[in-house]
Amino acid sequence: MAEAAIRIEGFVKDYPVGIRGKRVRAIDGLSLEVGANQIYGLLGPNGSGKSTTIKLLLGLLRPSSGVGTIFGKPAGSLAARQALGYLPESPYFYRYLSGRELLRYFARVSGVARATREERVVAVLERVGLSAAADRRLSTYSKGMLQRIGLAQALVHDPQILILDEPTAGVDPEGTAAIAAIIRDLKERGKTILLSSHLLSQMEDLCDHIAIINRGRLLCEGAVEDLLQLKGAESYLVEGLDASGQAAVKAGISAAGGSLKQVTPARRGLEHLFSEAIQAEEGGAE
């Protein structure tokens, strides 16, 4: 059996509250397994325990009980952290540094060899589309650019696993699409990606596996296709039927023993419409 990229077995995390020793349970017996080369989405409302789970995997928090492993190595250990790249939620970086300086710093602390460091920094800047802004101070970066430089610092030591905490939070649809494209590209390059979000439509498009958690408990988990499939139902997208044609279809369904439950006009998602409009505008301007 192939070794899981990330394995969580019975994570429990309690926080002490007040001076009377009362404890609040943030994670309640969570078990997950993320296979290699998956894009795995951790979904849940605010406060559901997504960020806590991630911090437990990174060793920034210690579990009250349970174990986590990264490619078989204990979560939080140096060897496990070497295999990880992490983008925190709403990342804050040293604003007086330029994008290039920030990446040089993180490459250095991550142990990227001096001989290949500069090459690696240039490649990662290119990958996240920030080559042109590489020498600008981070204080002049937009929110989307900060997220991308955050992604770049997570990638700079070429880790096998990327853990991205709300990677598109506060980013406009265009920036979101750019980040999604980078994530897909990373999967193609064989990386494993664990990302958390509460933006469901983005996760549906991006992830191949998801887990939904609430109040620290796992509600459901599996491949997106399996979870979203309505058993025994199929949908057809038809256009160009007039009223008599629609009546004939309904009659045909009925005659074949089926039952027409719902007829709704086909529509695009707002995100799709927005991206299309922006792309059309930019295409026309060129």
Binding site: R81, Y86, P88
Partner: protein, 271 residues
């Protein structure tokens, strides 16, 4: 080698951040202003000769402003990483907690070294110019210039103890203000340790005396570093070399002990 590189990277970034802060320049400006103005305080000269007064005043400036800078910079540069959550990103990388702490401490010490060098340089230049303007009384200089830098070195070692203490407090504290206040309090306790130690020596009940004397070791006796009277002026009794080494070892031991405790706490701290 990688470990040294990581520590040095954190140190260099800490230093860069520190020298970008206005506070450093404000302290430097005040220090420079006080040294330049020291010649104008002659009317407060209580019978001591002019150069001696300038030396004492300059030493006092270095001691006082350096203490403020050491505590403020150590607290701010460490705690900002926690508050801004840049420590999360850094410690999610293959960086050990002690590498982070040591890098921070060295970065602050580099800043304080720059402060000490600049003030000692200015002090030496001012005293030299002042001495040139005085009527010649003999062939020997009235100021032992090398000892001005020695005083700077001793104070720098003392700032290292304060930096270690700040990191220790910061490793436990949950707020920047608390870290700052407790660190200043620790410095005051250290300055007044000699009084406490003298009174402990008078306790007749031996076990109690040993207990309080052992507990007193938790705080350094910062009076050990007050050797300004033995340095700088030609008329002063020189500081024996052995005492200098003892002072530096004393500072090194407390700095390392505080850093060790800070690491022990910080390693267990949840971010």
């Amino acid at each position: 080698m990688e470990r040294v590189d990581r520590i040095w990277a954190v140190c260099a970034l800490t230093f860069t951040e520190a020298v970008r802060q206005k506070f450093f320049y404000i302290v430097l400006f005040i220090g420079g202003g006080m040294l330049l103005g020291s010649g104008y305080f002659q009317q407060f000269d209580f019978g001591v000769d002019e150069l001696k007064f300038v030396i004492d005043f300059s030493f006092g400036t270095l001691f006082f402003l350096g203490t403020i800078l050491a505590i403020t910079a150590s607290t701010q540069l460490f705690y900002s990483e926690i508050e801004n959550r840049t420590a999360h990103t850094l410690l999610a990388k293959p960086v050990r907690h002690f590498e982070f702490l040591l890098g921070k401490c060295l970065g602050v010490q580099l800043l304080l070294l720059l402060f000490v060098l600049l003030l000692c340089g200015l002090m030496s230049a001012l005293l030299y110019l002042r001495e040139l303007s005085l009527p010649v009384t003999g062939s020997e200089s009235l100021v032992r210039y090398g000892e001005l830098w020695l005083y700077g070195l001793i104070q720098w070692a003392r700032f290292g103890v304060l930096c270690g203490a700040c990191l220790l407090v910061g490793s436990i504290a949950r707020s920047y203000l608390f870290t700052m206040m407790v660190s200043f309090l620790l410095m005051l306790v250290g300055q007044l340790q000699y009084i406490a130690r003298e009174s402990y020596a008078e306790i007749a009940f031996l076990p109690l005396r040993w207990l309080v004397q052992t507990l007193a070791l938790l705080f350094p006796n910062l009076q050990v570093f007050n050797v300004g009277d033995q340095l700088g002026h030609a008329a002063a009794t020189s500081l024996p070399f052995g005492v200098l080494i003892q002072i530096l070892l004393y500072a090194g031991a407390y700095t390392l002990a505080y850093l060790g405790l800070a690491w022990w706490n910080f390693k267990r701290r949840e971010l």
